[in-house]
Symmetry: D2
Subunit: 332 residues, 4 copies
């Protein structure tokens, strides 16, 4: 059993709001309190932490102290590149002054990452993209995306950076929208310290085959981190792991074994209407149970079936495990 | 030319927020100020107004005065059935006390509608539905939806009510999700004063053919109101009219002529990154231009093509008008 | 355990072709041979049989004999309303002579159904619909669909009829495209002997929640038959049961218990690249295994969770069963 | 006005069949007759021709003669890599003997291309991919795809090759499924003579922004050919150009000007229920009309709007042209 360490995006323990429930789904939660809630889960060892921190006057020292107190490590720092001032874009904003602000915020995130011993700085440029046909010059959008991230990455070759792609939301079309396109853009950056955060739900949402796409990224040496969740494949619903796409989640975990991923696995959920601590526990329980299922997987039988592209045989190997009856095996 | 009166949902002139830009896309706008912005558009004659009003202590009298001052009429009152307390549902909330609160808010909306001379009370029960497989008892969800709205509708037979369906958001699955399903639920209510607000964008989003679906609703005598906007068909993007689905928007406007819709046409947009007044003006300009196109439509040629299900001939009639060159006609 | 009888659409044992592999995925198989292949599965007790039969000169007597010999019953007769001559529609064809041909073929199917003791005649009017915007007059499409089927149904009140809806293919827009819309059209027919064949894959494809939609149909007394398969939710892939949507298939089978469906369950698969007999066996093994899972389902725990709309608790009840470890339960 | 030369895939003048209308939508048409039908269109100058040819005993000499007689040039040769024997894959078939057959057919296509003076050999490996989770080893699928095409390409460095990507059909998941992924695979081939056929409909279907994606391909020097058609974005409907996505088709044609595409433009339609010659004429009329619209496009106004990412201003520039009234301009 791959005994993965678990982590989470800190946002899953904070306040959720959307365009309808403008009074939010629950009370405000500052970064310190969110770290404490993460610790409540019991299995969260690392966090992806947003910067600027949530809460008035919360300092780096306080965050470091909260992490130390709870035994949690900072895994990543994710700058808020998608707030009001970046609504038309961060690295691709039409105004060069705002583009510079995005770069400055990226640079600031590096500083925080060093102070908190985080492993990487994550870019999720949620406002970079467009909403309407004819709205932007696509070549300039590409160039600005590449140049902006390159600029931050070159400023600190000792830091690892990672881009998290998503098809859309909040823009109707986001710039970094698939694994393959992000790999091409990273090529164009021409730097060695930029890779990809592979978010399982975003891969479902991009209509990728996650078990395939993660191997594509890994083979090119660009896999920096893994985030897990689930959705209905038409939106970034950020649900608990395995609750809709159980079989493909299992296949994804099998792929992580193939590429010998050592972890950690970070949860990226938005439990709008659920208890965040319980939502994290549910996902971890599911992942561990799926890992036990994989421990029992007959790899030879599966390889033999895949060697023939034999869909029914491959499926039987898997469904027999999930349905746990031996009934399937008896038949063959 | 159908000389429609125009209107809008008042929300398009207020503040937008989403789960990422939690500092919102612009400043707060109270109901009074939103009415004034609507008036700035120049062609907005009616408004769908949310209740409770936005802004501290805004009173019905103040709203009535603002309407009078700007020459705008209240077309509809839409109660906020989708705020924090209704996050698990309004008419379908598991707690009967919250269900009663939803009914009470509906009843209050009737009162406001009478005070502002609004033509109907609109229900958009955005939180009624579910997010996960196995989460709810579907029969109870149906029954509670039907009973809740019936209860409000029966409390005032003199008032018109209308349900606005949408496939999803904020729930991953909303209860009233298509025109046909909403018609069935209305049947089950067994009251005469509940109909449908047909939102063009929601119909696109539900993967309906809007020109077909609006006729289905109208033939059953349940069409109460029309809202217009556009989207990319996979989310309720609430964009300016005709910017993506120009041909189907034209077809929809043609269908409104077929059913002899007298108007008004309400805009339902969320111009997150645009000027709201300009966003409304753009849509109105487009609709009026499309109406002029329809004025020139060769109805006999179109009917002849449709009589043969002749797609190419029907398309040529339409594309010739849009591309405005006469080139197409010369060919035939 | 619901000890369902199993059946299949006979087409799954015949030849498959598509627009690319125009030399077909395998050899021709006539109706007699297809019945024999169905019998090979070992658990197929009933068949939905296309008329006209496949193969030169195959007679009703021969089919009856083959059924008798194999111990299989005819469950339904499905007339080929979607061949070349009906390419612009069957009941909705622009030419009234072709519409009459569709009615005549429906009438002939009744006769065959009586001769083979089939329980119902199924309509799958795959060519009724449209492909292009502006191509058809939607009201006439609706009326012709309703009138055509009503006409066949009225011709034999002793026979049961059932419509199988599908969103699209071969038309880009099929007329009977969802459960709710089909229920409305059936209402308009004003006859008692027309209901719905609920195809699980078509419900996925229509972006319905199958466990919800089947209850909607059943509560209105219109559920005639159940067909099972799976797909990727964006096309009618006709795959083996439970291979993609395992959790929702389980939820669907649970819903069949709720409505006390007595069976049979028919498979509707197109195993283009697989052995048809094995493809059927795989599905039956999966369904039986899922039924055993349901036998162990803690209905009280699930009802309690659903009573609170508690997604995480409901999911844990289910995932604990599928992942079979007890790990989940220990946690609570 | 870009005075493009037009062409077509020869298949659009041949017989169509699908899995339901197994008696086909019309009579058989051999390659010679298809060339003659293409010539009937009046504006078709080049053809993408499938090999093996359709029709018993049709020879290269006969095809060359028919081309000469009609004044049409062979633009591309597309080998039938997706017939029955390749149903589990061509370059990725599990059996190395079939993989070799695919390579041999590719080599044969080169020979035909030379004999007919075609500019490139097109690969559309429609059966390379998978249908079920767990069915294949994704890394092997990638390697086999890359190696197979590299092998053919290396066999004749003087010939140009081009891959046409598509998301799915006939496989539920095709290997070459997007522009970005195909670019990555071409990189891995390490040869200079393999590029991309950019099919507008496939780009819509892949949920790309075609005007963006074609520039991505062109900037990397991999754009070999352009095919046009339209669809409903959820399937490869192969409809007449501009009939659904008029605005995005206009944006795509504008992008072709940006990259200074010199043509030709090939039509790739499957007019199942329409006259093929008329279907081609409709598309050409539409494209020419859109080109005239582009001639009138105020490039400075558009560039200014795009320089600000000003969606409404950019849209007004475009809608004013399409709605042809000047009304929009008067407003500004």
């Amino acid at each position: 059993m791959a005994n993965y360490e678990f982590g989470a995006g800190i946002w899953m323990f904070q306040q959720f709001i959307d365009r309808y429930a403008t009074d939010a789904y629950g009370p405000e939660v500052d970064t310190i309190k969110a770290i404490e809630k993460a610790a409540e889960v019991g299995d969260i060892r690392v966090l992806d932490i947003n910067y600027p921190f949530a809460g008035d006057g919360v300092t780096v020292a306080e965050v470091r102290e909260a992490l130390k107190r709870t035994g949690i490590r900072a895994q990543a720092i994710t700058p808020h590149l998608y707030m009001r001032e970046f609504q038309l874009g961060s690295f691709t904003h039409p105004d060069p002054k705002i583009r510079q602000k995005a770069i400055d915020l990226g640079t600031k995130a590096i500083e925080i990452a060093h102070e908190l011993d985080a492993r990487y700085v994550k870019f999720w440029p949620g406002q970079d993209g467009f909403d309407y046909p004819f709205q932007v010059d696509y070549q300039r959008l590409w160039d600005n995306s590449v140049e902006g991230i390159r600029s931050v990455a070159q400023s600190d070759p000792s830091m690892q950076f990672a881009i998290e792609y998503k098809a859309k939301e909040p823009r109707s079309h986001m710039f970094f929208n698939s694994s393959a396109r992000t790999l091409l853009a990273i090529e164009d950056m021409g730097v060695d310290n930029v890779g990809i955060v592979f978010d399982l739900g975003h891969s479902f949402f991009a209509k990728e085959t996650p078990a395939e796409a993660v191997q594509l990224v890994a083979r090119r040496g660009k896999l920096v981190s893994i985030e897990l969740n689930d959705n209905w494949r038409e939106w970034d619903d950020d649900m608990a792991v395995g609750t809709v796409h159980l079989i493909e989640t299992l296949e994804f975990l099998a792929a992580l074994r193939t590429i010998q991923w050592q972890g950690p696995l970070l949860l990226d959920q938005f439990p709008f209407r659920e208890n965040s601590v319980e939502a994290a526990r549910s996902s971890i329980l599911t992942i561990r149970a799926l890992e036990r299922v994989l421990d029992r997987l007959d790899l030879n039988a599966l390889a033999a079936a895949q060697g023939r592209h034999d869909a029914l045989a491959a499926q039987r190997v898997v469904l027999d495990l999930l349905l746990g009856t031996g009934l399937v095996k008896d038949h063959d």
